[in-house]
């Protein structure tokens, strides 16, 4: 079961320095990912180059980075929906081949089943696992309430607002209580208030069960207030991890209150400066270079 993976090579970011001793939930070992562009012409775009990182068991890791840098790609690799062109990805020491069964994945795009109601969407995973319909319904209703969707259980996706659909997707993933939770901008379609409610809900859940989380967001405040560690991805092409920031804020946290503490503001300022530089590169590259 969980075993640390020995790695001997050096890389720009050295995440193992932090997590090496702890059991490892997710590990990227010198992963490179290329996409073919222009069918048939053999050209390709290097999205990620030589990424090494780990997520410890029970650790909450966030990834921030400029748009288009490769965050979603990274998450797809962790989910086992993409295979790396080079290097390897392991979950609890097992190489990932095909969908990562120990992970739950909330994707950036709308991935609800359009032919199922909100309740049926939320309970889909339970039904796949053979949970009895009655129990699935009860637990599903509970999750609808938790995500503020009480009474909307019989709506089809096209009858819900963007934010409502996102919350259904959230409930759909979390109801299964997976060992590894992969989330790609889960809260970006929500207003700030609802978002904070959801963030607290997630933190509560995480504190109770201590699952491993890999979390992608554009909101640096969100990243800091939730995580144990924030990783900064460089601008693409050939994105790699260029910064790693352990967040040593005390737990339990309230995401609204913690933002006002000086320690938070300090961390925010530091990461922000690095992130800004990255975005300027990305944008400058695309715009002028």
């Amino acid at each position: 079961m969980p075993q640390p993976i020995g790695m001997s090579d050096a890389s720009l970011a050295e995440p193992r320095a932090v997590a090496a001793a702890a059991p490892v939930a997710l590990s990227f070992d010198r992963v490179t990912c290329r996409f073919p562009t222009r069918q048939g012409r053999g050209e390709s775009y290097v999205a990620l180059r030589d990424i090494s990182l780990t997520v410890g068991d029970g650790e909450f890791v966030s990834i921030v980075g400029p748009t288009g840098s490769g965050k979603s790609t990274l998450l797809n690799l962790a989910a086992g929906l993409l295979r790396p062109s080079e290097g390897r990805v392991t979950a609890f020491g097992q190489p990932i081949d095909g969908p990562n069964r120990r992970a739950g994945y909330l994707s950036q795009a709308d991935a609800l089943f359009p032919w199922a109601t909100a309740l049926d969407n939320v309970t889909a995973g339970l039904r796949f696992r053979g949970v009895s319909p009655a129990e699935a319904k009860a637990r599903g209703e509970d999750w609808l309430v938790r995500t503020g969707l009480r009474g909307f259980g019989d709506r089809y996706p096209h009858q819900m607002s963007g934010g409502m659909r996102k919350r259904v997707a959230l409930a759909q993933t979390l109801i299964l209580d997976p060992d590894i939770i992969l989330m790609d901008e889960p809260f970006s379609a929500l207003d700030i208030q609802t978002r904070q409610l959801m963030e607290n809900e997630l933190l509560e859940l995480w504190a109770a069960r201590r699952r491993s989380v890999l979390f992608i967001t554009h909101d640096l405040e969100e990243a800091i207030s939730l995580s144990d560690r924030v990783l900064l991805l460089s601008a693409g092409p050939a994105a790699h991890v260029i910064g790693e920031y352990p967040i040593d804020l005390p737990r339990p946290r309230d995401v609204a209150e913690i933002r006002l503490t000086p320690a938070f503001l300090d961390l925010h300022r530091r990461i922000w400066a690095d992130l800004k530089a990255q975005v300027m590169t990305a944008y400058g590259q695309a715009r002028h270079g």
């Binding site: 795009a109 709308d110 609800l112 359009p114 032919w115």
Partner: protein, 270 residues
């Protein structure tokens, strides 16, 4: 209590609709009648609408026709059911197994291109002259239509939704029932509308080529004595029959596809 409307076009009342449909029907009949009257259409080949309707009316008054209709219906429905089931099954298999699909692809296409009329004797040979050889002929038409659509429907499944189901732990079987099937349903139904017609064509042609009963037999008999009225009246009965079956398909379709947005639906749904 006006609901938000999407488009200015669309709804006409049921009555107007019926009126328009009748107008088209009357127009067609009038054109036919006048065509024959003015000598543009030879009644030897086309008969006249009044004769055809009169004959159909008398025929429908006799028990005889219902025996034939019954035989044809049974054949049609069996061909439709087996062809659809077979097409869906093979469509799923090849749609989900890339290797099988690549290997079998040329054979499926070749089989689709075989002229069924030529195969009729072989069907008769294997299945006898009873209803089964007609069912086989209908099957061989329905099957391919459904197959190609199901196969394509499988390929059109949204990769995002599919990946989501995988991550939620769906087994291959569950992927099938929970993702592929509902997603491919509109493809399936589209093919069924074509297939209903072809199932009937298969049954009738089968009867036409060799049988002892059925509407195709009657048509063939009428044709043998150059009784055009009989031929057309047979086709009229066919037509009425197929419209009834198709209405059934449409009703089932509406039942299965409740989850879809209307034509010009929301613009914030991805």
């Amino acid at each position: 209590m006006a609901e938000p409307q999407r488009k200015p076009t669309g709804g006409v009342s049921r009555l107007t609709l019926l009126g328009l449909r009748l107008a088209v029907l009357v127009g067609l009949l009038a054109a036919w009648h006048l065509g024959v009257r003015w000598g543009l259409l030879d009644p030897f080949f086309f008969s006249t609408p009044e004769d055809v309707i009169a004959r159909t009316w008398t025929d429908l008054g006799h028990a005889e026709i219902y025996r034939h209709l019954w035989v044809t219906s049974v054949e049609t429905l069996l061909a439709f059911a087996t062809g659809t089931a077979g097409g869906i099954a093979l469509g799923f298999w090849l749609g989900l197994s890339p290797i099988a699909s690549q290997v079998l692809d040329p054979y499926v296409k070749a089989a689709n291109a075989l002229p069924r009329v030529v195969l009729a004797p072989i069907f008769a040979l294997w299945l006898g002259l009873g209803i089964w050889s007609k069912v086989a002929l209908g099957f061989s038409l329905v099957f391919f239509i459904v197959f190609f659509n199901v196969y394509q429907g499988i390929k059109e499944v949204s990769p995002v939704v599919l990946a989501n189901a995988r991550m939620l732990g769906a087994s291959r079987r569950q992927l099938m029932t929970a993702v592929y099937l509902p997603s491919a349903l509109s493809w399936v139904f589209s093919s069924l509308h074509t297939a209903v017609g072809f199932a009937l064509v298969g049954a009738v042609v089968g009867e036409y080529l060799g049988s002892a009963a059925g509407l195709g037999y009657r048509i063939h008999q009428a044709e043998g004595v150059f009784d055009t009225v009989g031929v057309f009246s047979g086709m009229l009965i066919l037509t009425i029959f197929v419209i009834a079956v198709d209405a059934l398909v449409s009703r089932i379709e509406a039942r299965f596809l409740v989850w879809r947005p209307e034509a010009a639906g929301r613009t914030d749904a991805a």
